[in-house]
């Protein structure tokens, strides 16, 4: 039986990796994947706590998070395709039209 704390540690590691990915990576698509990783880290944390407390409610939360993540995927991909059409790149460093 694997102790619950291991899952929590894994979730923290995933979340931190995701956050670092968002801050450090330059390709919008990779940033996007890092974001998904952060959401999934939250999912893992929810599941872990649900198991620790023997509660079902937090497992249901994961369904909702998954749906929200899917909606965000849809929006994000659409925006990226749209940007790629006009700029031929999704590099964040090249997004400098807005400056002041």
């Amino acid at each position: 039986m694997v102790p619950a704390s291991y899952y929590l540690i894994l979730s923290v590691v995933l979340f931190v990796l995701g956050a670092l990915g968002v801050l450090l990576r330059r390709n919008a698509l990779v940033v996007f994947m890092s974001l998904e990783m952060m959401f999934n880290a939250s999912n893992l944390a929810f599941i872990t706590f649900a198991r620790m407390y023997n509660a079902l409610s937090a497992q249901v939360v994961v369904f909702f998070v998954m749906t929200v993540a899917a909606a965000e995927v849809a929006i994000g991909l659409a925006l990226m395709v749209e940007i790629f059409r006009s700029k031929r790149s999704v590099d964040i460093d090249q997004m400098n039209t807005l400056k002041g």
């Binding site: 249901v60 369904f63 998954m66 749906t67 899917a70 909606a71 995927v73 849809a74 991909l77 659409a78 395709v81 059409r85």
Partner: protein
């Protein structure tokens, strides 16, 4: 506890062995008469052309996005179906509302031409 999983382990081990055995037997004893047609990646499919890593049309993304959106909704149908008898009429009505919203999205995508390939 763990012994409950023994049949599963046996099945996994057995299927792995069987898969290897079948492939190995065919490889060892089967007749080999290679020709140009037969060496192609897809023997009876289309003739491949162009580099393997070419860019996909944007249209694929649109389809993929729509697929993700409508696919994930199954997540809500399954628990509902499992608890269908307990939820009764209110649960059914709520699910109808859910499906109506989903259908509006479908109708919207349809009318906007997102499902047209050309």
């Amino acid at each position: 506890m763990l012994t409950d999983y023994l049949p599963l382990v046996v099945i996994i081990v057995f299927s792995v062995i069987l898969a290897f055995l079948v492939v190995a037997l065919g490889h060892l004893f089967g007749p080999k008469r290679p020709s140009e047609k037969k060496s192609m990646p897809y023997e009876s499919g289309m003739v491949p052309y162009g580099p393997g890593q070419r860019r996909m049309t944007v249209r694929y993304y649109l389809i993929a996005v729509l697929f993700i959106l409508f696919d994930i909704e199954v997540v809500f149908f399954l628990p509902w179906a499992v608890a269908f008898r307990d939820l009764g009429l209110p649960g059914f009505l709520l699910m109808v509302a859910f499906v109506v919203v989903l259908e509006v999205a479908h109708l919207y995508a349809w009318k906007k031409g997102a499902l047209e390939w050309e």
